[in-house]
C-alpha cells in the first residue's frame, strides 16, 4: 500500500515537473532572441525524441494523463503570473496574446485537419469573418463587443457550413483547391467591398469594457502598473482554456470518435451509422466557430483590421501550427501555436527574411518530424478494474 501511494506521489510530482518544464521552455523561448528560441525548440524536440526512443515518454504521458489536474493547475498558475514575470513588457505580452488567439483558431482547424482528415486551407477566412462581424457591429452599429463575440461565432459557424459543403463531395487535392479558392475569394471580396473598408480595413474598433473598466487601460494590481495587454492576456487565456476544454471533450466523445472514423475509412464510418454529411459539417462549423471567436477577440484587441490579416498566407501559418504541434492532439496544437507565434514574432526583426525562414522551417519540420511535436495519442477512458463488479468505468473531464 505504501509503495502504491509512493508511486502515486512520484507520478504526481512528475506531472507537475513536466508541466512546469513545458511552461519554462515556452517562457525561455518567449524572452530569448531568435537563435536561442530555435535552440530551445531543438532541445525540446530532442528530449521528446530521446524519450520516444527509450520509451520513457510513455511514463510521462501516463503520469500526465493520470494527474491532469495537477499539471493543469501548474500551467494555470504560471499563466496567471506571466504578466508579472515578463515585468510588464508589453511587446512580449502582445506575442502571448496573439499566441492565445492563434491557439484558439488552430484548435478549431484541428477538428477538420487533424480529427477528420479534411484539408482546409481557409481557416483565415473563418477568423476574418469573426473579426469583421464583430468590428462592423461595433463601429457601424455601436453594438457591444461582448455581443460581437457571439455574433462573430455565429457568422463564422455559418460560413463554416458553406465552406464545409465541398468536403461532402470531394477529398484530397480537390478539396484543398476548393478551400484555397474560397479563401482567395474571401480576401478578394473584402478588398472589393467598400462597406467593409476595402483595402483600407476598418480602423477605430473599440476595446472591451467591463463595468466601466476599459480593457485598453493599464491594469493596476498590488501597486503595480501592468500594460493594457495584460487585460487581453487574461481574457484570451480564459477563452483558450474554455476552447481547449471543449475541444478535448469533443475529442473524447462519440463525436470525436466519429471524426476519427471518417478520417480512417468513410465507408466503414457510414456503415456504423455515422451521418457523414452532418458530422463533416459539424467539424467545419464548430471549427469555424472557434476561429470566429478568435477573430472577434483580435479585432477588439488591435483596434484595426485589414484584409492582409486574413489572407491565404495566414491560413498557411495556421495549418503549420496544427502540423508543428501534432494533429489531433489538443495539447500539441496549443503548444505548436504558441511556439510558432513566438518564432513568427521573433522573425519580424529580420523583416526581409521572415517569410523565407518561415518556409524553410516548415520544410524542415515536414522532413524531420512530420508527426509534429506531440504525436496523436490513443484515446483513453478511465477504467478501473474491479474484481467483484466487473468493470467500473468513470469518465473524467478532459483538459489541456
Amino acid at each position: 500500500m505504501i509503495n502504491k501511494a509512493g508511486a502515486q506521489l512520484s507520478r504526481s510530482l512528475m506531472a507537475i515537473a513536466v508541466s512546469l518544464g513545458i511552461c519554462l521552455i515556452l517562457y525561455i523561448a518567449l524572452v530569448s532572441p531568435l537563435p536561442i528560441t530555435l535552440l530551445v525548440l531543438a532541445i525540446f524536440l530532442g528530449l521528446i525524441v530521446m524519450g520516444e526512443r527509450s520509451g520513457g515518454i510513455e511514463k510521462i504521458y501516463a503520469a500526465m494523463e493520470e494527474h491532469k489536474g495537477e499539471a493543469l493547475v501548474v500551467a494555470g498558475i504560471f499563466a496567471l503570473l506571466l504578466p508579472l514575470l515578463v515585468s510588464g513588457n508589453n511587446y512580449l505580452l502582445h506575442v502571448v496574446v496573439m499566441g492565445g488567439i492563434y491557439s484558439i483558431i488552430a484548435l478549431g482547424l484541428n477538428f477538420q485537419l487533424g480529427s477528420t482528415g479534411m484539408v482546409n486551407f481557409a481557416p483565415a477566412a473563418f477568423y476574418g469573418t469573426g473579426a469583421y462581424t464583430s468590428a462592423v457591429l461595433a463601429v457601424k452599429f455601436g453594438i457591444s463587443p461582448w455581443v460581437g463575440i457571439l455574433c462573430g461565432l455565429f457568422m463564422a459557424a455559418l460560413l463554416g457550413i458553406v465552406f464545409g459543403f465541398p468536403a461532402l463531395k470531394t477529398r484530397g487535392y480537390y478539396l484543398s483547391l476548393v478551400t484555397i479558392a474560397l479563401q482567395v475569394i474571401f480576401t478578394l471580396m473584402i478588398i472589393n467591398t467598400d462597406w467593409l473598408g476595402g483595402p483600407n480595413g476598418i480602423p477605430g474598433i473599440p476595446g472591451y469594457e467591463i463595468f466601466g473598466f476599459s480593457f485598453r487601460r493599464p491594469l493596476e494590481i498590488l501597486g503595480m502598473r501592468l500594460p493594457y495587454q495584460t487585460n487581453y492576456f487574461y481574457l484570451v487565456f480564459l477563452l483558450l482554456s474554455l476552447a481547449a476544454l471543449a475541444a478535448s471533450r469533443l475529442y473524447n466523445s462519440r463525436i470525436g470518435l466519429a471524426w476519427n472514423a471518417i478520417e480512417q475509412d468513410e465507408i466503414v464510418a457510414a456503415t456504423q451509422g455515422i451521418n457523414l454529411t452532418k458530422i463533416k459539417l459539424l467539424a467545419f462549423s464548430i471549427g469555424a466557430a472557434f476561429a470566429g471567436v478568435a477573430g472577434a477577440l483580435y479585432a477588439h484587441y488591435t483596434s484595426f483590421i485589414g484584409n492582409e490579416d486574413f489572407d491565404f498566407n495566414k491560413s498557411l501559418v495556421l495549418i503549420c501550427m496544427v502540423l508543428l504541434g501534432g494533429m489531433d492532439n489538443v495539447a500539441g496544437v496549443i503548444l505548436g501555436s504558441l511556439l510558432l507565434t513566438i518564432i513568427d514574432e521573433k522573425l519580424r526583426d529580420f523583416a526581409d527574411y521572415r517569410m523565407l525562414m518561415y518556409a524553410l522551417i516548415l520544410i524542415i519540420i515536414l522532413i524531420a518530424r512530420p508527426q509534429g511535436l506531440l504525436p496523436k495519442r490513443n484515446r483513453k477512458y478511465q477504467i478501473k478494474q474491479d474484481n467483484n463488479e466487473g468493470y467500473n468505468v468513470t469518465v473524467t473531464a478532459g483538459g489541456k
Binding site: K169, L177, I180, A181, L188, L316, L356, A359, I367
Partner: protein
C-alpha cells in the same frame, strides 16, 4: 464586334499562359500523383532568369551581334527554361522525394513552402527584387492588323503555345521515354513490373515539366510586360485551376481548362459593369462549381468508387 474579338484574342493569350502551368501540374500529377504547388513560382523564376540574362548579363545584345534577333530570343528563352528544368529537378530531390508514399498533405505543404521560399529568394537576392521589373521586349511588338488590334506578340504567344503542345504530343507519343511517362501515369505498379525505370521517368518528367513551366513564365511575363517576384502564387493557382478543370493528370484537358478560366476572367472584366475587381472571383467560383459537380474534369470519365 471588334471589341469582342480583341477580348477573345486577349483571353486566348492569357489562356495559353495558364495552360502551360496547368500542363506542368498535370504532368507531375500524372507521374507522381502529387500536386507540385510551387509550379507558378518556378515559372516566374524563369521570367526573372531571362530578365537577368538580358538586362544584367547583356546576353541578348551580345547574341544579336552574331545572330538574327529572332534566333537570339529563342536561345535565351531555351536557356531560361532549361534553368527552371534543372531547378525543378533540384526541388524534386529536396522537397518532393522525401514525401513519397506519405500523406498527400505533406508534399502539398512542402511545395507550397518551397514556392514561398523561391519567391522570397527572388525578392531578396535579385537587385531591387521586391519592385516590379520591366520584362525585356524580346518579342516584336508591332501590330499585325489594325482590326481588333492583333499584334505580333499575340500571335507569337499563341503559336509558341501550340508549338510546345505539339512537341509535347510528339514526345509523349512517339519516343520511348514519352511512352514510359504515359505508362507510369496510367498505372505505376504495372509500369514498374514491365521493367520501366520509374525513377528515370520521374526525373525526366520533372525536367520536362520545369522546361514547360519556364516557357510559361516567359509568355506570361511577355503578356504583362512586367514581372513581380510574387506573381507566381496567383499564376500558379490559376494554373492549378486549369489543370483541375481539365481533369488532373490530363495534359490536354489543362489547355481547355486554361482557356475556360481565361475567357471567364477576360469577359467578366470587359463586359460586366464593375467586373474588373471580381474577374478572379468569378473564375475561382467557376472552378469550385466544377470540382463539386464535375470533378472528373471537362474531358474525364466518371469512375465508380470500388467498395
Amino acid at each position: 464586334m471588334s471589341l469582342v474579338l480583341s477580348q477573345a484574342i486577349n483571353a486566348i493569350m492569357l489562356g495559353c499562359t495558364y495552360s502551360l502551368v496547368g500542363i506542368g501540374f498535370s504532368l507531375f500529377f500524372g507521374v507522381m500523383d502529387i500536386v507540385v504547388f510551387c509550379a507558378g513560382d518556378v515559372a516566374i523564376f524563369a521570367a526573372f532568369s531571362i530578365t537577368a540574362l538580358v538586362s544584367i548579363v547583356g546576353l541578348y545584345a551580345a547574341l544579336n551581334l552574331a545572330l538574327p534577333p529572332f534566333l537570339s530570343t529563342v536561345l535565351i528563352v531555351i536557356a531560361g527554361a532549361s534553368l527552371t528544368g534543372v531547378l525543378m529537378l533540384a526541388l524534386y530531390r529536396l522537397v518532393i522525394k522525401p514525401f513519397e508514399n506519405k500523406s498527400a498533405l505533406m508534399p502539398l505543404l512542402s511545395t507550397i513552402a518551397s514556392g514561398v521560399a523561391l519567391r522570397e529568394l527572388i525578392g531578396i537576392f535579385y537587385p531591387q527584387g521586391r519592385n516590379p521589373q520591366t520584362f525585356p521586349q524580346l518579342l516584336p511588338g508591332g501590330a499585325l492588323s489594325d482590326f481588333a488590334m492583333i499584334s505580333w506578340r499575340n500571335l507569337i504567344i499563341i503559336v509558341a503555345t501550340l508549338l510546345l503542345v505539339a512537341l509535347l504530343y510528339l514526345f509523349v507519343n512517339k519516343t520511348k521515354i514519352g511512352l514510359s511517362i504515359q505508362a507510369v501515369s496510367q498505372n505505376r505498379e504495372a509500369a514498374i513490373m514491365v521493367g520501366i525505370n520509374w525513377q528515370q521517368v520521374v526525373l525526366i518528367t520533372f525536367l520536362l515539366g520545369g522546361f514547360i513551366l519556364g516557357i510559361g513564365g516567359f509568355l506570361v511575363a511577355s503578356y504583362y510586360d512586367v514581372v513581380r517576384f510574387d506573381m507566381g502564387s496567383m499564376y500558379g493557382l490559376k494554373g492549378f485551376c486549369a489543370a483541375v478543370v481539365g481533369g488532373l493528370g490530363n495534359v490536354y484537358g489543362a489547355i481547355v481548362g486554361g482557356l475556360l478560366i481565361a475567357f471567364i476572367e477576360v469577359f467578366v472584366s470587359a463586359f460586366v459593369p464593375g467586373g474588373t475587381a471580381y474577374a478572379s472571383v468569378a473564375a475561382f467560383l467557376m472552378v469550385v462549381l466544377f470540382i463539386l459537380f464535375k470533378p472528373e474534369g471537362v474531358i474525364g470519365e466518371k469512375t465508380i468508387e470500388k467498395v
